[in-house]
Symmetry: C2
Subunit: 364 residues, 2 copies
């Protein structure tokens, strides 16, 4: 197993990662509190944390708490990209807190050799509409883009002063032949994570991230308490990897292996039928006899993670698939319908988001 922010190899042992990274498993007590939140939170996808207990108790004690989760804009967003935002939105609904969403167009621009400056801004604009479409609260949600809200440079600079090239190189896997925008970006990312505190003063801010990104949180927690800032160390909740349609450990942006938010009904039907990794038997006969394995079945996983909010219904699907009563083609059909309903609504809301964009963009 190898898990770094830029590489995931082998089969992932999450318990080992928790130990290695020095994070904590989310305890039952907290999970119970999350029973009305998004499936991603209450079904163990977000499985580990740093100071999430403190964040909750600060909320209980009426102290200011916030959420920050960012996005490196890409040509088109896929389902996997939504994970931290679905969680942020759900927590915002439950804890009525501010949500900050930095869009790191600069990161993508630095890292992708052939991405033009204008395209990086265009992708941001498109991705921002996808995020607004999720239904965040107006006046409590602040979206900003590094190349537009350039005031962020003032904060990034203050952090940059406290990160040596050696540290950035180690944490971000930089090479000497990478460009100096890239090597500056760690400061920008830390500025994003600390941005709620730059804006609202010292308080506890929560970052939903993939477990592989924890090294960045560690770096930022170190910086937060530097005497230049005297901030709270940001809290974090860590997600397991979301499988691609193929059942790989991490959903990538491959055309067939991912469901894009802009996919048509036909695209979805075709992708799920063709590519969604199945835990079913080799033949219908075998499936009916021996049953399927929902735990490795991608369609079931997507229902569990994203689309079947009702626990009883999900359990029935699980049991029926396991017993063989529910066929793979039937399971896929359930997902196709749920997914297409979600995407239809999303695409509709995204269209409407064009009129709402000014309510969410932070002014420079």
């Amino acid at each position: 197993m190898k898990v770094t922010p830029w590489e995931v190899e082998g089969s992932v042992d999450y318990n080992k990662l928790v130990e290695e990274f020095g994070v904590s498993l989310i305890p039952d007590k907290i999970e119970k509190r999350l029973k009305d939140t998004h499936p991603l939170l209450r079904r163990g996808i977000y499985f580990a944390h740093r100071d999430f207990d403190k964040w909750l108790s600060n909320y209980d004690n009426k102290k200011n708490v916030s959420i920050i989760t960012g996005r490196g804009p890409s040509e088109k967003m896929h389902l996997g990209h939504l994970v931290p935002f679905l969680v942020a939105k759900s927590l915002q609904e439950n804890f009525n807190c501010n949500v900050y969403i930095p869009i790191s167009d600069d990161e993508k621009f630095y890292v992708k050799e052939n991405l033009s400056f204008n395209d990086s801004i265009e992708y941001s604009n498109d991705n921002i509409l996808d995020l607004i479409a999720l239904g965040f609260k107006v006046k409590k949600t602040f979206i900003f883009e590094d190349f537009v809200y350039t005031t962020i440079y003032r904060y990034a600079a203050r952090i940059a002063k406290r990160i040596t090239y050696s540290t950035a190189k180690a944490t971000f896997g930089l090479k000497n032949e990478n460009n100096i925008g890239w090597s500056f970006y760690p400061a920008m990312q830390a500025a994003h994570i600390l941005f709620p505190q730059f804006q609202e003063g010292k308080h506890l801010s929560l970052v939903p991230i993939g477990i592989d990104q924890d090294p960045f949180i560690r770096l930022t927690r170190d910086i937060a308490t530097h005497k230049d800032f005297d901030f709270e160390k940001p809290a974090a909740i860590h997600a397991k990897f979301i499988p691609s349609l193929y059942g790989d450990s991490k959903m990538s942006s491959s055309k067939e292996g991912s469901i894009f938010l802009s996919d048509s009904k036909k695209d979805v039907e075709s992708k799920i039928k063709k590519y969604a990794f199945s835990g079913g038997g080799a033949t219908v006969k075998e499936h009916k006899e021996k049953g399927g394995n929902p735990d490795i079945d991608v369609s079931y996983q997507y229902l569990k993670i994203f689309f079947e909010e009702n626990d009883d219904k999900l359990k029935k699907i699980y049991d029926d698939y396991k017993s063989g009563a529910l066929l793979t083609s039937e399971l896929k059909q359930i997902l196709i319908e749920k997914l297409n309903k979600f995407l239809e609504e999303h695409q509709d809301k995204k269209e409407k988001a064009k009129d709402e964009i000014n309510d969410f963009i932070l002014e420079d």
Copy 2:
């Protein structure tokens, strides 16, 4: 001899530098054209160039030309700091062109471990008043500060993408334990030099600099023609080092060896009398007999470089000092009076500049 942007050692052989750096000596033909400009230009302090001939001929052909010269703000400015700005102002008067003045508060902040963010901005504000006091043309002069005019990050990012850490390290003498703001700064500096072209489109912009800074110009000229930008390679004129009062090769910010723009008349009198390196005889008797050496006398040099604009008067001072007719104390007195008149007027204009600042600051 060792001359890098961050170190000058030994006695400087300017002809050798011209050869090493691949720049050209300013030819007589150009010097003649400069007969009505500031002494710094017409008395050989600016001695070398890149494409200055082209800049002049573009001007003659009514093509757009501009000047760009920046400042890393310091607690207080001294006389040596004025050199490129006196030249920029003189060229602006003669060629009626736009002058851009970037203030790199970020550079100083990155490089000086103990300089606070707020102090770096405060020093900028003070230095900007010193620059406005020089009398640049309104509506043709644009001053901007990196931490205020943060739009500059958009330009710096585009350049950063095209500079590897290796290149920045070599050109700027970076070490791995330096911070990542510092290693990003080469992009910011190139963005400053190319800023006139980002603003006004492709044209020839001239950079007055010290000869030791030429490596930065070379780097920026390389970047300028990258297909991302398709700019003109900026032109440059290169100055020799301005001696400190001690007669050192490069004026530093040591308290006694420099004349600060905020110095009182008494400060000036005392510094010149005590510290200004003299080319005179050991005793008055010896001086009268054998004469002095104006070529190594700092007071004479300052009159030549800054304060005695009249060529005939300067020649008389030179001849009289050489013959011994003019004593060191008398030569120093001439400088003290000229210098104090300049500083009195400057301090007055700086006070008035507070009301003019909005006419010069570029809006974000």
